[in-house]
Symmetry: C2
Subunit: 197 residues, 2 copies
């Protein structure tokens, strides 16, 4: 195996161990010692890849973002009718299974931990608002938005709707299932777009 | 001063000290010792009112909920046109100043801490979904909703929109200000209600 791939896989293994520790014990449990134990390596070995706890946590969050980004890009590159494509991309942001719920929970615990450290916190880090901005502007360019739509307002509205749904789907997976989430998003898209519902 | 009022005020003072500690140090700092120091009382005296850290944290969160509930009720009891009243109530959920942002941040950190302890976590605790359900059903009874509205979907949609806006307003107070939040909520209400915008 080429050395770079080996190294990346090793870092990903450590990041995944970090997620498991955060999910189990919260951020207060996400120490280098605990994460090394979970990843089954020595703390010294972990420090080779990540010289600080900070760099490790940043990498673990970046990996959450990258995994979601890859899933969204896969859908964006498919040949699909616009509404189906937009719906599919949005559905990748809202957690609807164990794996994506875990990713969202890691994001949530991480954000709660860093949100009061304003200087180190970047709310735009996850790229979701930017993605939604691009979606709304592309719908506009394709003449698929209803007339009299205020673009900036629609970006904020869809962004809030998606993050709110993601929050509720994470906190109450039993109440809000995949089909309900899809129905809510479809209903919203129908209220702003010209394509039939 | 009657003893009960004195006692309640004392508990509120302790709860407010708890908020300050959570805002400053996160949940990991919210120990009985730290909170007692912040409230300027002895840990033993604090334990008279709150026998466990758990009971103190529950009370501090209940107080966040009660304060928001009181503000919302004040608006609900005013003589206002339906749209203005609904908008006013929703605006009390989304943090738009230092005080309500702090309340939201306490809620957020608290939720992140308890969310992975499923058996102790009740997402309906804050009463927001229930309030939104009542609002949508009252608009329906007043014949103010557009035809072909699916009530359950509209409850989920508005609930997600409001909590998403609250999350963004808390995390990015500089980007999303009061007038923008109001414009987003107004635009959404106009898309589902019959009253003019």
């Amino acid at each position: 195996m080429p050395k770079q791939i080996d190294h990346d896989q090793r870092k990903q293994k450590i990041a995944e161990a970090t997620w498991r520790v955060i999910l189990r014990d919260g951020m207060s449990g996400a120490t280098v010692r605990n994460i090394a134990r979970e990843a089954n390596i020595s703390p010294g070995s972990l420090r080779n890849d990540f010289p600080s706890q900070e760099s490790l946590l940043q990498y673990a969050m970046t990996l959450v973002k990258e995994r979601a980004g890859e899933r969204i890009l896969t859908i964006a590159n498919q040949e699909l009718p616009p509404k189906e494509k937009v719906l599919g991309m949005l559905m990748e942001i809202v957690p609807t299974d164990e794996q994506t719920r875990a990713e969202m929970e890691v994001w949530f615990v991480f954000t709660a931990h860093y949100s009061h450290q304003r200087e180190r916190f970047d709310a735009g880090f996850d790229g979701i608002r930017n993605m939604i901005r691009i979606i709304i502007h592309q719908l506009q360019e394709l003449d698929l938005l209803k007339p009299d739509i205020h673009l900036d307002l629609e970006v904020e509205k869809l962004y809030a709707l998606v993050d709110g749904l993601a929050l509720h789907a994470m906190l109450e997976p039993g109440r809000l299932d995949r089909s309900q989430i899809k129905a809510v998003l479809k209903s919203h898209l129908s209220s702003v777009c010209l394509f039939s519902s």
